[in-house]
Symmetry: C2
Subunit: 342 residues, 2 copies
DNA sequence: CTGAAAGCGCTAACAT
DNA sequence: ATGTTAGCGCTTTCAG
């Protein structure tokens, strides 16, 4: 285990003081070109990298940006993480990721750990922490929230127009002639889940249609939640020709239930999701969904965090959703003669 | 932005020296019960958390464990990451994740960054770095490699018995009566891809069967690679009734190609994967695959890393694979009369 | 423009 | 058992 080379080594080797090396490293002050060249040569030769721990301690910045994600193995949040990492790539900052696992205590704990690690900023992906707590945190450290609205912090929120997106879905389904709908919603505590559901039901209502209570089930944005919710839907025995899910992961789970029940997609029931996770285009059949450029949103979140750090004002980012029509939706099956008579 | 409370504050407040507080924090030495209680009370009241940066600098340990993963948004590696995070949860250590994106330079860079950050150990998930480089790294910092064999470092490798797993698949397919096979392999540079392919082809050979060159295509362990490889397979026009893929993600991609081509799974072609990623059980139809408990492997990797840190010897971990039969495989379709005559 | 010196918050000998 | 004293590697006044 070799001894790591320190700034002091470099200074000695180059025949200058540590401060000079530091200044060159940070561009803090002007240095004679010849010294700069000399020092830079030594840095390169020794392959010196400043110790971030020491920099953090002395400089008061940790050079790391905390990220709280609900899950590490979610196709959706994984993409966001990839975007954040990519955006931070050319900067001296590094993401420090902790998962909250959809549990308030875990999220709180994650926040504590990140603050203890003195992260310079925090990016919160989704999550269920109270607005009050977040407002408090935002006072200690620059905060960016993705995919959720935080009261009093709307400038720092990067959100998608959920209502507009879900309206697109509802209209698409209506235009295909569907009249009997089922809906799988996200958890009530999440604002985006509420927005999506409200927009879906609202659009149908505007068209003079309602969805019976039994055909609205709550999943929790996970594949398994979707699978179970779809089962409850079928258990009601109520008819429907279109099933809209509040996100792609639940649509994937629901699709399994439909398969097991011998229902064909889209011949028997049209299925839709929301988010356009990468795997959705690979489903059988490929899923009709709403594109939310989550990777890009991740990069924007990281950049906004950097801006906040630099003391620049952030301005609210609202992403526009886009309907992606694939094979999982088709015209409503014409009712069988018997049903038509009924 | 409140001032963080420091160990010095706690010491003053409790009327003891900083060292005493430190000792209590680390359990380094015995402290009078009464003092301990007093100090602990103050710690709780002030909600004090030691600054990890300072601990790192003074103690020579960063309390973080570097993790290099090929990808942040992979269902497979995501699970491993979740396992690692979970195993580290009750320890003072924290994972620092960087993605290598299947590019040697990126992996090298990731390694450099982690070493610069003075991580206490490194866990390498898959990856394509040369064995020589890893041997060198292992001399500087405890290293655990997951899913790959590193020459001269076999003790630190956590691997699955790839050959045994793929043999299970081949035998399963043979027992279903299949005689015409196609195979989608991982990249040549990865040892596990090689092992799996060799085992598959070897088992068929032992049964007196060979696979024509055109029906062996190389993907790169990604969904898209599988999709493309499957297309090349179909383009050859050669017949096959079973398609084995070297991992689940490629099987998912291949499944899309089959769907587009109007081929039914498993009626027209049986499809298999490897890994048993969570989403595989949700495919339409659910995928027959080899279970590799990747989450568990992640936790073991983290624990082994901790062991290495503690100076305890690690012993080579070999996981045993298990066949999971689902709906994507079925008896070989009886050849049509025309084919039977040919 | 540059060096000397004083910490950042903590740990780890070294004393006592 | 506990306090005192040095640093860890770097940044940042403060002089010059």
């Amino acid at each position: 285990m070799l001894e790591p080379v320190t700034l002091a080594h470099v200074a000695r080797e180059a025949g200058v003081s540590p401060s000079t090396v530091s200044r060159i490293l940070n561009g803090t002050a002007n240095v004679t070109p010849e010294k700069r060249v000399r020092v830079e040569a030594v840095i390169a030769r020794l392959n010196f990298r400043p110790n971030p721990q020491a920099q953090a301690l002395a400089g008061g910045r940790s050079l790391s940006i905390g990220v709280i994600t609900p899950s590490l193995h979610s196709t959706f949040y994984g993409e966001a993480l990839a975007g954040i990492e990519a955006a931070l790539d050319d900067t001296p900052y590094h993401p420090l990721v902790i998962s909250g696992q959809w549990r308030t205590e875990r999220e709180q704990e994650a926040l504590d750990v990140l603050l203890a690690r003195r992260v310079d900023a925090v990016i919160l992906l989704g999550g269920i922490l109270d607005d009050e707590i977040l407002q408090h945190v935002a006072r200690r450290v620059p905060l960016i929230a993705v995919g959720r609205e935080v009261r009093g912090l709307s400038e720092c929120c990067i959100v998608l127009d959920n209502a507009a997106g879900m309206r697109l879905v509802a209209k698409h389904l209506l235009s295909l002639g569907h009249r009997q709908f089922a809906y799988i919603s996200g958890a009530e505590r999440q604002s985006d889940a509420l927005e999506r559901r409200h927009a879906f039901l609202g659009t149908l209502q505007a068209a003079g249609l309602t969805v019976p209570d039994g055909l609205i089930q709550v999943g929790n944005y996970t594949e398994d939640g979707g699978r179970l919710a779809a089962q409850r839907l079928l258990d009601t025995g109520l008819p429907f020709t279109a099933l809209a899910c509040a996100n792609d992961q639940m649509a994937l789970g629901a699709r399994l239930t439909l398969y097991r029940a011998g229902l064909r997609v889209p011949e028997d029931v049209s299925l839709t999701g929301f988010d356009d996770v990468v795997t959705s285009s690979l489903m059988t059949p490929p899923l009709t969904t709403v594109r939310q450029a989550i990777y890009d949103i991740g990069t924007v979140a990281a950049r906004e965090a950097l801006n906040l750090l630099a003391g620049q004002p952030v301005n609210r980012q609202l992403f526009t959703p886009e309907l992606v029509v694939r094979d999982s939706t088709a015209p409503s099956p014409s009712p069988s003669p018997a049903e038509a008579q009924a």
